[in-house]
Amino acid sequence: MKKGMLLFTLMILVSIAASACGGGASDTIKVGVVAELTGDIPAVGASCKNAAEMSVQEVNDAGGLDVGGKKYKIELFIEDNAGKADQSASAAQKLITQQNVVAIIGPNASRYAIPASEIAESSKVVLISPWSTNPKTTLDAKTNAPKKYVFRACFIDPFQGRVVAKFALDNLKTTKAAVLYDVASDYNKGIAEFFKKTFEENGGTVVAFETYTTGDKDFSAQLTKIKDAQPEVIFLPNYYSEVPLQIQQAHRLGIETPFLGSDSWGSAELIQLCGADCEGYYFSTHYAPDAATPQATKFIEAYKAKYGQTPDDVAALTYDAFGLFYQAIQSAGKVDRQAVRDALAVIPKYEGVTGNLQFQEGSGDPIKSAVILQIKDGKFVWFANANP
């Protein structure tokens, strides 16, 4: 009995010692991914997983990553957050404490990235969200100061809201806009408010500002109200699984204004679910596959060859998040959580698939430009650029 107790205590001690090392002892670098593989936006999770696996395979096929004169293989751990905020946090926790990852890539949607980022910040582990554009992801909820360990590979919503509002005013020449958004989701709510602010500051009026909650399928009351307010353009900063329903119901009610969207539209699923109803509308996003830089073209070709589809913005941003991580760990010169964080914060310039980026001083938000895409013949086509 006593022996058993001793053995048990020893085992616990060993496991504590092992976890304290931070995975630095072996020849692999452990990287975690938290993605939305199931739940309400599974296409986002699938793109993230594909790009992550592709990026890691490229590095491992090339013999590994050279860090401080030694070659390391990358070991990938992918966790599903099931489209739930609490599972996001527990997946991040699991990756940090059980798998001992050096850094976490993901989650993508802001409503999952925010809870996971809290865990990463308090555990002092780098988390790079590829696609979370809500400002709160990289800000401390209490002090509103930037988090130290949380970064992102994309622009943020105040910028995106401004881009779409300016586009509606200057390119579409509209002055009366309506907004319908999910009030229960951080991303949608944030961007809707930033759009409204910029649109009104620049001489437009928002004639209807309507909400619904996640899971709703019937938007007839809100859309009837919007129709009654007679807007010239309708902004729907909602996810690709909901936008088709909203546009189809609007068409059924006889609404004929153009619709605008944000980067949450940018999944190929949107076109499949929406069909001809979404034809001709615009949305802002991170990159345009058809107007790509040589670097992006290389990525797009490789992705197409491997998965048989054009990579969407989530895939491209995930790939960039991994690129950022590799560059940071190489310039850190050692496999250490703190060293990676310090190196990542001062990356002078990273040339990614989605354009050049650089982190703002003392913040995890990069300086990046956006593009406006149009849906044309069932494809996303480049329409305009928007610089910060």
């Binding site: 199931t38 599974p42 399928k217 019937d218 009351a221």
Partner: protein, 291 residues
Amino acid sequence: MTYFLQQLLNAMQLGSIYALIALGYTMVYGILTMINFAHGDLFMVGAFLCFIAATFLKLPFVPTLLLSMAGVALLGVAIERVAYKPLRQAPRVSAVITALGVGLFLENFTLVFSPYPQHVPALIANRTWTIGGVSISSLQIIIILLSIALMIILDLVVRRTMVGMAMRAISWDKSIVPLMGVPLDLIISITFAIGTSLGAAAGTMYSLAFPVIDPYMGILVGWKAFISAVVGGIGNIRGAMIGGFILGGVEIMVAAFMPSTYRDFVAFGLLLILLIFRPYGILGKPRPQKV
């Protein structure tokens, strides 16, 4: 005025779907005094069967509807036999928890096939008429009329047929009625078949009106239909119909005349107040507790 009429039409469409699902809750409760929380997920399975029939078998509307109803009715009967029947003598709480488990099983079973939201093809040519500023679509007309027709048929079955009489008798007393020669298990199976097939009909029409379906679509709608059944007086069939239209109406009208953010808060607040004055629902009657 046209604005109000348009919203009234929206409310009728939503309300008729809630009412159809609420019927499933209320019928099972009436006969077994058990809340079948898997019903919302059976509604989802109905929508997915509609998707399969329309996409892969390329069936037109009526066969799709019938296939979906028949498939879900079979599933409902099977669930009752496998999951609920062994618990008929157990405390009600066990049965309710089993129902929740069956619901989770159905969601995750569907999830295994595809976590992606699916697009249901338009089975009914969509035409929109504008009459005096009010837009009416062919789909809205079909949903409202078909729901009302199904409800009238159900009401006739329950009130005018032998099966209906047996159902009402069993809901009155489950221990004496079988002694009179009424086949208890058969009647319970028929009740499940009818209740779940109405849920499937609602699922089919819902997936035509809102053609993006996912494995979790039944949760929220199921809860709302359950609330409709409670508001109407759970166990009472006409009550469930009234409750469905009341909830649909309140939800739409609150969003129509107040900021839409207040919708659920005001809608369910009003329903709570209603339950304070009529704790057994609009048409419900207090049941004496047997000691």
